[in-house]
């Protein structure tokens, strides 16, 4: 009986580890394989504080969580610089370094002997010294940790995390602060893993380095992948399966050493088989938006909402902008003025520097010289997400939709000033966040209706047709609430009928007071939409005028069609 209860205690610990790990890899897309190190920090801080300093529960737990969350923030720093394969390798290396420290700093950690005599938990006069007594506590803690992860994942912050996972630059372009998000999610994932570590230390009354090896990280990784990345319930099931399954080996009479190794082989095989035959895991990514607004989609807010109307009538000016890439001049002495209520066109042959100009205006590139001002406010040197907040936003030529999110979520995530983007509001001001979320659903539907995508709201962005994708790009840019909208080839590759559908949308934006600038190759589109056109070639502005004036200039035509 005790054996069975022991297994259940382990399941509850691994539920905490797997769900917190899922936040990191499944939601934020940050494959930082150092989770066992976070687990170790929680366990060791608890063991050291309670054995060497005699501090009573819950001091070691709290200290362990805070300390490990801090370590998590440090690990987030590499994740700001490198991604993908490199992040995996760097974090594996980090884990090796942590293990080396644990094994070699004998005075503090007991080296390879570990630390014995961690006191059992005492609660309400009970000593929790058997699995049966410990289980209610560990189950409760697991439920609590699950709730924290669940709340985070289902909040606007969690939605922004998934957007960042799908495409970092696009998340930035809708005003999300990548630094804040990465640091925060690492702190939470690490802190939660430390809770499991602290419980582990009290439960076994012993900590040793061999509980926190890289194999342990891979073990938890297998649970997350098995259950499905981006699905927290999946991680619960994954943890249960992978803790219980190897226990069945106990029924075969094997030497312990071989049984241990067989257990690891099962994890490895499980990982391969799942990736090979069911890469989304047992359960696919969970649907979060449906939860927020109930099962019925909200009615769209009225179109006169400030989301679509321009307000201030401010002009965006770029002065003397200059950018070179390793000796190649991309943009030279660019002076540009974008006025409210006017659709400005940017044309020129490929490589003329049009997209670079957008990058300079929106902070995605820092100019070598020159300045950008929005009204009287200088915005040069601001981070890209801050410029979006200030009211200047851009789209990308290659769309960069959040493909594994719904159409509605693509727009929702882009809405400005969401209190729920901050974790403090998510946990401390839940009613505010919920109220705002209701309003935002209405605003998002309004934006979708405006571009006539309302009936696709619950579809996944990856399932849209090409024309619908283009519309969603417009909707997402619009949702940022920015005054200045820079569209990078919003209409390329569309058939004439669809073009006729989209023209009025862009015209209405300008009429409502927005500042609109589009990069476009199709001269018919330019003639239809733009009042002012800048002609760029080799990074320089060659002409400014009405479309008719520019088209009539034979020298420009020769350059354009060369």
């Amino acid at each position: 009986m005790d054996y069975l209860l022991h297994i259940l205690v382990l399941v509850s610990l691994y539920i905490v580890l797997a769900t917190s790990f899922n936040l990191l890899i499944g939601f934020a897309g940050l494959f930082a394989l150092s989770h066992a190190a976070f687990y170790a920090f929680g366990a060791y801080v608890t063991a050291i504080l309670s054995v060497k300093l005699g501090l009573p529960f819950p001091v070691p737990l709290i200290a362990g969580v805070l300390f490990t969350a801090f370590i998590g923030i440090l690990v987030a720093l590499p994740a700001l610089r490198v991604a993908g394969d490199y992040l995996v390798i760097v974090t594996l290396a980090l884990q090796v370094i942590v293990l080396a420290v644990i094994n070699n700093w004998k005075d503090l950690t007991g080296g390879t002997d570990g630390i014995r005599g961690v006191p059992n938990l005492h609660l309400f006069g009970y000593v929790l010294d058997t699995p049966g007594k410990f289980l209610p506590v560990s189950a409760l803690v697991a439920a609590g940790c699950f709730w924290v992860a669940w709340r985070l994942a289902g909040s606007p912050f969690g939605r922004a995390l998934r957007a960042m996972r799908e495409n970092e630059s696009a998340a930035q372009a809708v005003g999300k602060d990548l630094l804040y998000m990465k640091v925060t999610v690492f702190a939470f994932a690490a802190g939660l893993a430390a809770v499991a570590g602290s419980l582990f230390a009290h439960y076994l009354t012993y900590v040793g380095a061999d509980s926190f090896t890289i194999e342990e990280t891979i073990y938890v990784l297998a649970m997350v992948i098995l259950g499905g990345t981006g699905n927290l319930w999946g991680s619960v099931i994954g943890a249960a399966i992978l803790v219980i399954l190897p226990e069945l080996l106990k029924f075969i009479d094997l030497p312990t050493d071989i049984a241990d190794k067989s257990r690891l082989i099962i994890y490895g095989l499980m990982l391969i088989v799942i990736l090979r035959f069911r890469p989304q895991g047992l359960f696919g990514e969970m649907a979060t938006t449906a939860r927020v607004g109930g099962s019925i989609l909200p009615a769209a807010a009225s179109i006169e909402e400030p989301v679509i109307a321009g307000r201030s009538g401010t002009t965006l000016t770029g002065k003397g902008l200059h950018k070179t890439f390793g000796g190649i001049v991309a943009v030279a002495d660019l002076n540009i003025e974008l006025k409210p209520g006017v659709i400005t066109g940017l044309i020129g042959p490929n490589g003329a520097g049009k997209t670079t100009a957008f990058n300079l205006l929106t902070g995605f590139l820092e100019p070598d010289a020159g300045s950008v001002a929005f009204g009287s406010r200088p915005i040069t040197g601001l981070k890209a997400h801050r410029i979006v907040g200030a009211g200047v936003a851009r789209s990308f030529q290659d769309l960069r939709l959040f493909t594994k999110m719904t159409v509605l979520e693509n727009v929702l995530v882009a809405l400005p000033d969401q209190a729920g983007d901050g974790v403090f509001a998510v946990f401390l001001r839940p009613f505010l966040v919920r109220r705002e979320e209701r309003q935002n659903l209405g605003r998002a539907m309004a934006v979708l209706d405006f571009v006539k995508l309302g009936d696709k709201a619950t579809a996944n962005a990856e399932d849209l047709s090409y024309a619908e994708e283009k519309l969603l790009v417009i909707a997402r840019l619009l949702a940022t609430g920015a005054e200045v909208l820079l569209f990078d080839e919003p209409l390329s590759g569309l058939d004439p009928t669809t073009l006729q559908d989209i023209f009025p949308i862009i015209h209405r934006l300008a009429e409502s007071g927005k500042t609109v600038c589009i990069i476009e190759h199709n001269l018919d589109v330019i003639k239809e939409l733009c009042k002012v056109v800048y002609f760029l070639d080799e990074g320089r502005i060659l002409a400014i005028g009405t479309p008719e004036q520019l088209v009539a200039d034979p020298a420009l035509a020769a350059r354009y069609f060369k």
């Binding site: 494959f31 594996l92 420290v101 992948i225 690891l264």
Partner: protein, 289 residues
């Protein structure tokens, strides 16, 4: 000063091992873009295969080494065909291959542990010479490590530049899409680099077996060293991997001058950490892309 000279020699010797591992691992990585983490246990398998050939089959060492290399090549080819290839065909994100590779890593390592036991395996009755040069000494196994690096990389260089298969590999390293378009059979080229890259790990594996004995966990450090050598030297460059590997050996060895031995491995991981963060394109800027 004598100590420093000896440390430099040791660094050069260990560095040669890392360099060869780096060349093999880097060849696979640069050509296929797969972070073949299971390179580690395949290297381990090569060491055990060499041991098996020498001690169980009774082959002389000169034959046992190629036997180990062949075993590694076979495992490398199998891992490409049965593990990575299906992911490539499905156009999975690159991370999927890496995670699957971690799975294969843990399977192979523990399989080896079960088959051969946890203790270390050594080749009994091995004769080797000790050379004293000035204040330093080294053994004929050490000599073989350095000579082996020079010989194998020279052969590899010739193969890559002179044969049509070699040129196909270089083309694919440069631009896999383009290589496919101009009619290079990328599947066959990938199989080839998995065979060659894995076989290259067989020599360092055999020499470590002769020097220190083989253990089931030896591959873990090896694949990291290979990765560090590649990252330090710049991806897609054989010369870079050699320089990177030897630099790593020297840093590690000279580090021991001031730092206690038990931290030896941590030194390399800290190097990796710093290089990836500060210069992800390699210290020497020879990166292909």
């Amino acid at each position: 000063m004598d100590l420093l000279a000896q440390l430099l020699v040791n660094g050069l010797i260990n560095g040669s091992n890392y360099a060869l591992l780096g060349v093999g691992f880097g060849l696979i990585f640069a050509t296929t873009r797969i972070v073949h983490f299971a390179y580690g246990p395949i290297y381990t398998a090569a060491a055990y295969a060499t041991w098996f050939a020498a001690m169980v089959l009774g082959l002389p060492v000169v034959l046992a080494v190629p036997f180990g290399m062949a075993a590694a090549a076979l495992l490398g080819v199998a891992s490409y065909l049965y593990l990575y290839r299906p992911f490539e065909l499905r156009q999975s994100p690159p991370l999927v291959s890496l995670i699957a590779s971690l799975g294969l890593f843990i399977v192979l390592e523990n399989l080896i542990g079960i088959i051969f036991g946890a203790g270390s395996r050594v080749i009994d009755g091995l004769q080797y010479d000790v050379y004293l040069v000035g204040p330093t000494f080294f053994t004929s196994i050490n000599l073989a490590q350095v000579v082996g690096l020079l010989l194998l990389t020279a052969l590899l260089g010739l193969f890559l530049r002179r044969t049509s298969y070699g040129k196909a590999i270089l083309a694919m390293t440069d631009n896999p899409e383009m290589a496919r378009i101009i009619g290079i059979d990328t599947r066959r080229v990938s199989l080839l680099v998995f065979a060659i890259g894995s076989a290259l790990s067989g020599l360092p594996a055999a020499l470590i077996l002769m020097k220190d004995g083989a253990t089931p966990h030896m591959g873990f450090i090896a694949v990291f060293m290979a990765f560090i050598a590649v990252v330090v030297g710049g991806i897609g460059s054989i010369r870079g991997a050699i320089v990177g590997g030897i630099a790593l050996g020297l840093v590690e060895s000279i580090g021991l001058w001031q730092i206690p031995t038990e931290w030896q491995n941590a030194i390399s991981f800290i190097v990796l950490f710093l290089v990836v963060l500060l210069r992800p394109r390699g210290l020497f800027g020879m990166a292909g892309r």
